[in-house]
Subunit: 455 residues, 2 copies
């Protein structure tokens, strides 16, 4: 009689293969439910059209807190609670003006104040405009040429950068006003941070000197088409001035909230898995892709897990983070409370790069943790996720690294994202239902797997 | 003295690694040029806005032939020539009507004739409408219930299919009229083949019995929102009629052309590499994604290779195929001439799945050829191409398999594609410049590599 035996490696592969087959069925079930019964698109429609822009500290931000708390309950959260945190309260006021003047000519540009900027004097300010291509040109110009002027940073998002163009160009929005003020500039106008060539100005936070040594000066962005036009004008005209009028101001901090929807783990409730996006948005549009899609995908993860009858072993937190855009106080608060309460956060995933088709999931963690995550990649491929490259979480979950969580982030195809980002066209109509849902499927699948196998 | 030697595998890996480094520099050069100096977006704008819809046989199709010949010359083709072929000439005529009538009520639907459909009688036709969910329901209803009626195929693109939803649902557009006519139906209306829930009707070719046994009946599509509404109405009302009026007709075939832009190979000119898309489009919009993007990406490949100073060893054909939409006569002609002239076609790539962000390139060929192609994948990853799965070429290059060519096709993220496909919203504004350019980069890169290394 011949003995029949299965070697250990074959047994191991067989077990793994059975497990992946079972997991693929569960992921398929989650996907089917999200595609057929998903609420993310309708919820996003509500958030965009019934609430709209929701900058931290605004009445709309508070409405968004209440609305998403309701949505989380409806999605099936065991409990929904608020985490109070103080947030900045910056307001834009009336529509800004930016008027170019040369000789006896005038032309009004498409502009917006940068977030957190101070306003101009009540009647506006006017000064000669000087264009610089980058920080080197600014420094070379020096105090002599910059003092008393308005600096125009005309640095485009570099077209040849497939990724990373935003991080490269956003330095001028963040640090431009500070650097120009050091040389005596009276104000700054930047070229909007976008690849698109159009008339939409893009806002976003600028950063002043926190210790108060360098003077705060008003800062605005003009549209990319205006920037191109102005560049041409400055080649021809010797003296060109900009008249700026901005009504924005920084009001006292107000209390706001993170919203947390929880499903308590049935076996290892101390282990916490976090899924989230940020609830606040800039004030020029509806915050559809930034980050209405992320919060609604997160709510959808909870709904789909519950609706698919998946009993989680570990505790799930679905978090609507407040104030990502202009100080990340919600993110800090979430981590602060987690540390204070000695919570055990094993994994967090965030969606804050637009609700476009996800092609990869960025992951951080130890080599072993990343290997484990990557071993699940075949389960994601049917839903368009091809890769799990090294990367971090976004702003809202990055602090959780301090308390040991593995953080990760959806990585959608981002070519369209910055066309909309922080601009008047970040609206619901720019979101595709199925792309939104595919993101939610990836997040739900990774939560299911981390919950089942740990990290 | 210790001997220094490099083993064969190490030498091989070292050579490969040097080669990939050099190739990555060339691909980077192509990409930089396409991002910075690319003409695809402007060319597409011209094609969409100055020509527009260009169905085979139309005056606009002829304009598109002449225009793209000019563009190919401007892009740097050595020679540009035409391949005459006879094409069908179907015309829509005046705007169609589809009016639902029940009791004393009427409601006009958003409809369009299916391509190649016959028109109705001059004064239209009216008949009771019967809804079927699929072919099985049609067959179960049988002649008794179908005879004299208008069949409404309400088969949606299945939401749970990430890919393949179109092939699954398009059977009702292609075969629905034939199958319904077999049972005595007088006309057909299908639910538009799209995931989107909106008021845009989607056209596309339907297929009659080629041997003339089964009667040809008129066929139209209604928008998905109209289909949903009608489905509800049919639950409540016993007798619902549809009045259809369509003016479309099939005119005699006319002569049209494929346009071929050629760069003669400097070392192995007999080897031909083909890059293409189709020049004709449906008549409801501008044929931006279907397939203006594909033809303009193809022209861009030629421009970028030339502008980057790459001297091709083999011959490049950039082909604007005519008549993909309603009989693929251009594709057949291209292959017919290639076979007749005993041309040696080694590789062909097509872009005809929308100008969205490319995530994969589908490839056919022998195992060795596919292994070779896949060994180049790391060179494509920086441009968002993660995979080279098995697949075919599209309609236009598939015939080249008969004469031994390896065929391949861009595989962009297709979730948005069918929202626009064959509908009034397939317009220039739906195309993102960088997504379009990334597709051209992938095509240019694969042409460069196939030219350099062969297959």
């Amino acid at each position: 009689m011949r003995k029949c035996f299965i070697s250990f490696p074959i047994l191991f592969i067989t077990i793994c293969s059975f497990a992946q087959q079972e997991d693929s069925i569960i992921v398929r079930r989650l996907a089917d439910d999200i595609f057929k019964n998903g609420k993310a698109y309708d919820n996003l429609h509500y958030l965009c059209k019934n609430i709209g822009a929701r900058l931290s500290g605004s009445a709309n931000a508070q409405k968004a807190v209440e609305t998403t708390a309701r949505m989380l309950k409806e999605a099936g959260a065991d409990t929904v609670y608020f985490q109070p945190c103080m947030v900045p309260h910056w307001v834009r006021g009336e529509k800004e003006q930016g008027i170019i003047q040369w000789g006896s000519n005038k032309k009004s540009l498409h502009v917006c104040a940068l977030g957190m900027s101070i306003g101009t004097a009540k009647n506006g300010i006017s000064a000669e405009i000087i264009e610089v291509a980058n920080f080197d040109e600014l420094k070379n110009a020096g105090t002599d040429k910059i003092k008393g002027k308005i600096v125009f940073f005309n640095y485009p998002m570099r077209p040849e950068l497939v990724l990373g163009g935003y991080s490269d160009a956003v330095r001028y929005r963040r640090e431009g006003p500070l650097e120009a003020a050091k040389l005596g500039a009276v104000a700054v106008m930047i070229r909007s941070v976008t690849h698109a060539l159009d008339y939409n100005p893009h806002t976003g936070a600028t950063e002043y000197d926190t210790i108060g040594v360098v003077k705060k000066i008003p800062a605005m962005a003009c549209s990319t088409k205006d920037a191109e036009w102005l560049h041409q004008l400055l080649q021809k005209e010797k003296k060109v001035s900009l008249f700026m009028k901005m009504f924005c101001e920084q009001l006292p901090d107000v209390q706001s909230y993170n919203v947390v929807g929880e499903i308590k783990g049935s076996q290892i409730p101390v282990d916490i898995i976090t899924v989230g996006g940020h609830l606040d948005s800039w004030d020029l549009a509806e915050g559809a892709h930034d980050d209405g899609t992320g919060v609604m995908q997160s709510v959808e993860v909870l709904r789909a897990l519950k609706a698919s009858g998946i009993k989680l072993k570990r505790t799930l937190h679905v978090v609507m983070f407040m104030n990502e855009e202009n100080d990340a106080r919600g993110a800090d608060k979430y981590e602060e409370l987690a540390a204070k309460n000695k919570e055990h956060h094993i994994f967090a995933i965030e969606s804050d790069a637009g609700g476009f088709g996800v092609q990869a999931i960025e992951i951080a963690g130890t080599i072993a943790q990343k290997l484990k995550l990557r071993s699940w990649l075949p389960l994601f491929k049917p839903y368009g996720v091809y890769d799990m490259p090294d990367g971090g979480g976004g702003t809202d979950i990055e602090p959780l690294k301090k308390i040991g969580a593995v953080v990760s982030e959806l990585d959608p195809n981002s070519q369209r994202y910055f066309d909309h980002h922080h601009s008047p066209i970040d609206i619901f109509e720019a979101v595709n239902k199925r792309e939104l849902e595919l993101g939610a499927i990836s997040m739900a699948a990774i939560v299911y797997l981390v919950d089942k196998y740990g990290l």
